[in-house]
């Protein structure tokens, strides 16, 4: 196997292009560091530099415009800190502009890789337009009177993002020592190599020297380091079976009086345990051998406003879990009432509305039962509603409901179950 990075001395770039020097200096650095050639993974972006691929003896990956650093980061992550390997990303100033966030993220995560930005001050492949790294005042085909915008200082950016090594250099002569420094860095490293595109840069900026352009734009040839741990996957505490995290319900009673699918809606306020109560109701029903579904609806701001839960209970397999007309609707707060207004209005006579006695009764054809829920505390209101529902209609037995409540509700002892049951007995009388 060859130990040469390049398979030719004839590189596919325009005469005078700085990309020649970057390729040759990078090859020299790799060879002097004695890497196995196939332990190097070159990732190239879209741009003139990207046509280097075919001249490389290393692994090569050629992706999308601007995404090469993210792609290279993914490769490096998959190598799991194998110190024999190195991911090197080549991209231009255009790729660095469109993919700036990827560069900052890779620096923030300190992914073990080396990025070499070929900053020739413009987009060479598309006719010489300016990029986010073009020096202010530099002429391009779309800024003949000079780039009016300040460029990003990518070295300062990646340094502040946490790169372990970064450096800006002129693309002149032998700069392989700088590339060796970057390659020897464990963690994220980036070199910005300044060059002038011989086709479009020279054409619109005749007689200007590279150093003069860089200096007049205020760019400093600097080198920064950080000393941070390179990226590795955090070892989250994982489980080997997600089903183990959900309790198994073993049906204990099959005294099912239900002969059809019914829907129960719980309507209340966010933070008052509506969704948890729906889950309790479901599992109590499952104890009786019923099939259930549970669906929640709430605004995107989950801590405020309404919270609504739709529960289906059926002796048969449930196919459709959408809402028709709930057989039972339990409303425990003004938010819930507001949200369910239309549903309540359209409830048929066969439905029952259980509504907290503090709420104004809306117009409805349904049978109405006022319940004393909120007086037992906002957090208890919906649980009290469930006890009412169980005792009055026996779809789920009170024994099964209390069993799940005891398992689930940490403050179960504070729930005035006996008082509620006495109140319900009075209603029944």
């Amino acid at each position: 196997m060859t130990n040469k990075v390049l398979n030719t001395t004839e590189l596919p770039f325009c005469p005078g292009c700085g990309h020649h020097l970057i390729a040759k200096n990078t090859a020299k650095a790799i060879e002097e560091l004695n890497y196995n050639i196939l332990d190097i993974i070159f990732v190239t972006d879209i741009g003139c530099h990207g046509i280097i691929d075919k001249t490389l003896n290393t692994h090569t990956v050629h992706g999308l415009h601007g995404r090469s650093v993210a792609l290279g980061a993914g490769i490096s992550m998959g190598l799991h800190n194998n110190q024999k390997k190195k991911v090197i990303v080549f991209l231009g100033d255009g790729g660095a502009t469109i993919g700036l966030q990827h560069i900052l993220e890779a620096a923030r995560l300190n992914v073990d890789m080396t990025v070499i930005v070929h900053n020739n001050f413009l987009y060479g492949m598309t006719g010489g337009q300016l990029s986010g790294l073009t020096p202010k005042g530099f002429n391009t085909i779309i800024s003949l009177n000079g780039n009016p915008f300040e460029p990003h200082d990518i070295i300062k950016l990646v340094n502040s993002a946490g790169a372990n090594y970064c450096s800006r250099i002129l693309g002149i002569g032998d700069f392989s020592a700088t590339i060796k420094k970057a390659l020897s860095t464990k963690g994220f490293s980036l070199i910005e190599v300044m060059e002038i595109c011989p086709s479009y840069g020279v054409k619109y900026n005749p007689k200007k020297k590279l150093q003069e352009i860089v200096e007049s734009a205020g760019f400093k040839l600097v080198e920064y380091t950080n000393n941070r741990e390179p990226f590795s996957f955090s070892h989250y505490e994982t489980v080997t079976n997600l089903f183990d995290k959900v309790k198994t319900i073993i049906p204990t009673t099959y005294n099912t009086t239900l002969n059809e699918q019914i829907q129960i809606v719980l309507s209340g306020s966010a933070g008052e345990g509506i969704q948890s109560a729906a889950s309790i109701l479901c599992r109590a029903a499952m104890l009786q051998g019923y099939n259930v579904t549970q669906k929640g609806t709430y605004p995107v701001t989950v801590g405020v406003g309404f919270s609504n839960a739709e529960v289906n209970i059926s002796p048969y397999e449930i196919f459709y879990h959408g809402l028709y007309h709930p057989k039972y609707l339990i409303v425990t707060s003004i938010d819930g009432l507001e949200f369910s207004k239309n549903t309540i209005k359209n409830l048929p006579e066969s439905s029952t509305l259980l509504i907290d006695d503090s709420l104004e009764l809306p117009e409805t054809k349904a049978k109405v039962i006022k319940i004393s829920a909120r007086k037992k505390g906002e957090k208890n209101a919906i649980l009290v509603g469930l006890i009412y529902f169980s005792k009055l209609f026996n779809v789920v037995s009170i024994e099964n409901l209390l069993k799940i409540l005891k398992e689930d509700v940490k403050t179960f002892e504070k729930l005035p179950v006996d008082d509620v049951i006495k109140e319900i007995e009075k209603i029944k009388e």
Binding site: L38, T60, A70, G74, M77, T248, I249, I250, F319, Y320
Partner: protein, 369 residues
């Protein structure tokens, strides 16, 4: 007898567990409603899990991980998918295995994050530039989530391609009682990276099965060249050379050939001349409509959604009336099956802002009569 294990679970949990058991080993994602549960469960289940800063990075990290021999997974909804489009094309062209779970929500744009819909089917049907097919599997119940997730990963691995599991808010965020002891065993994919040692390795050289043998770039014995640009068998960029064009054409053929071994549908026959076609969440409404109407129609639940397989048309040809039921207002799957100008025998029923109901389907059925 197997002891029942009845649990209150949602599809998100089942999909993630199935993918993990099938051999997916990396989850990279960006949180988005209604795919958040998938993300959360993945954080509990996957050894390698990474929160990406956006969905483009997600796909790029996944692609990088795939190049090193991992089998990555993500989950998203339309706004995330929109950002992923170019990178999905990249992975498709590079021929990288991965699974994208798409939980649909109500659009356009950000639409209603917590509103269900089936509005992304047309987008998926044309998501690869050039019109190449992207495989899409669509579960309609928990058993489907289990089996199709494993099959989606198997297809992704076998064919070196991104694969989509298409679901929707109403399934990924709804819990239901289910006896998990009824789920069949999932055997993990045995990853094999083997090549002919006596021959030069060309990353896009293929034989009659149209899938080039994959070698991860973690090995250092054979050079691997991977590219998203038009390329020859060596992975060298080409303009439109005959070899490169053959390669691009092969990508299409590869999916259409191998999907034949991954055909999933459910055909419920009641000797009717009316066939309701549905998929995913709207298939549930169709199942209920069938129960309510005492089996007044036949039902075809399509699970290998894209590319459309011949078996679907063979069934359709036997009916005088077709009703396509889906949770959108523009008959997206009907248009994929029959084109913009629907045949007179094809009716459609849809919904927006609410779940398509059994009544909606039955009304269409009765109007047709």
């Amino acid at each position: 007898m197997e002891t029942k294990q009845i649990k209150l679970i949602d599809d998100s949990r089942v999909i993630i567990e199935a993918l993990a058991r099938a051999g997916a080993d990396v989850y990279i994602g960006y949180p988005i409603t209604p795919a958040n549960l998938l993300y959360f469960y993945a954080s509990q289940r996957f050894k390698y899990m990474l929160p990406a800063p956006d969905e483009i990075s997600t796909m790029q990290y996944m692609s990088g991980m795939a190049l090193t021999g991992h089998l990555p997974v993500t989950a998203t909804s339309f706004p995330g998918l929109a950002l992923m489009v170019e990178s999905i094309n990249m992975a498709y062209m590079m021929e990288l295995p991965m699974v994208i779970v798409l939980s649909q929500r109500l659009g356009p744009a950000t639409g209603t994050a917590t509103g269900g819909a089936q509005g992304d089917i047309l987008l998926l049907n044309g998501i690869i530039s050039g019109g190449h097919p992207l495989p899409v599997f669509c579960p309609a119940d928990i058993l489907d989530c289990w089996i199709l997730s494993a099959k989606a990963l198997e297809f992704a691995y076998n064919c070196r391609t991104p694969v989509v599991i298409l679901t929707s808010k109403e399934r990924t965020m709804t819990s239901r009682s289910f006896d998990i002891s009824t789920l069949p065993e999932i055997k993990p994919i045995e990853k094999k990276f083997t090549i002919n040692p006596n021959k030069e390795y060309l990353p896009y050289e293929y034989t009659e099965n149209l899938v080039p043998p994959f070698l991860p770039i973690t090995q250092n014995t054979h050079q691997v060249r991977i590219t998203a640009s038009t390329h020859d068998q060596k992975g060298i960029i080409q303009h439109t050379s005959p070899e490169a064009m053959q390669n691009t054409i092969r990508l299409e053929k590869k999916i259409r050939t191998h999907i034949k071994n991954f055909v999933y549908f459910e055909h419920k026959k009641n000797n009717s001349n009316i066939l309701v076609i549905s998929y995913g969440i709207s298939a549930n409404a169709a199942q209920e409509a069938m129960r309510i109407s005492n089996n007044k129609f036949d039902l075809l639940i399509v699970k290998t959604l894209l590319p459309v397989v011949n078996e679907i048309y063979e069934i359709i040809d036997n009916y005088t009336t077709i009703i396509v039921a889906e949770d959108n207002i523009n008959a997206q799957y009907a248009k994929i099956l029959f084109g913009d100008r629907l045949l007179p025998k094809v009716k459609t029923v849809g919904a927006i802002g609410k779940m398509l109901s059994p009544d909606d389907i039955l009304k269409t059925l009765n109007n047709d009569k």
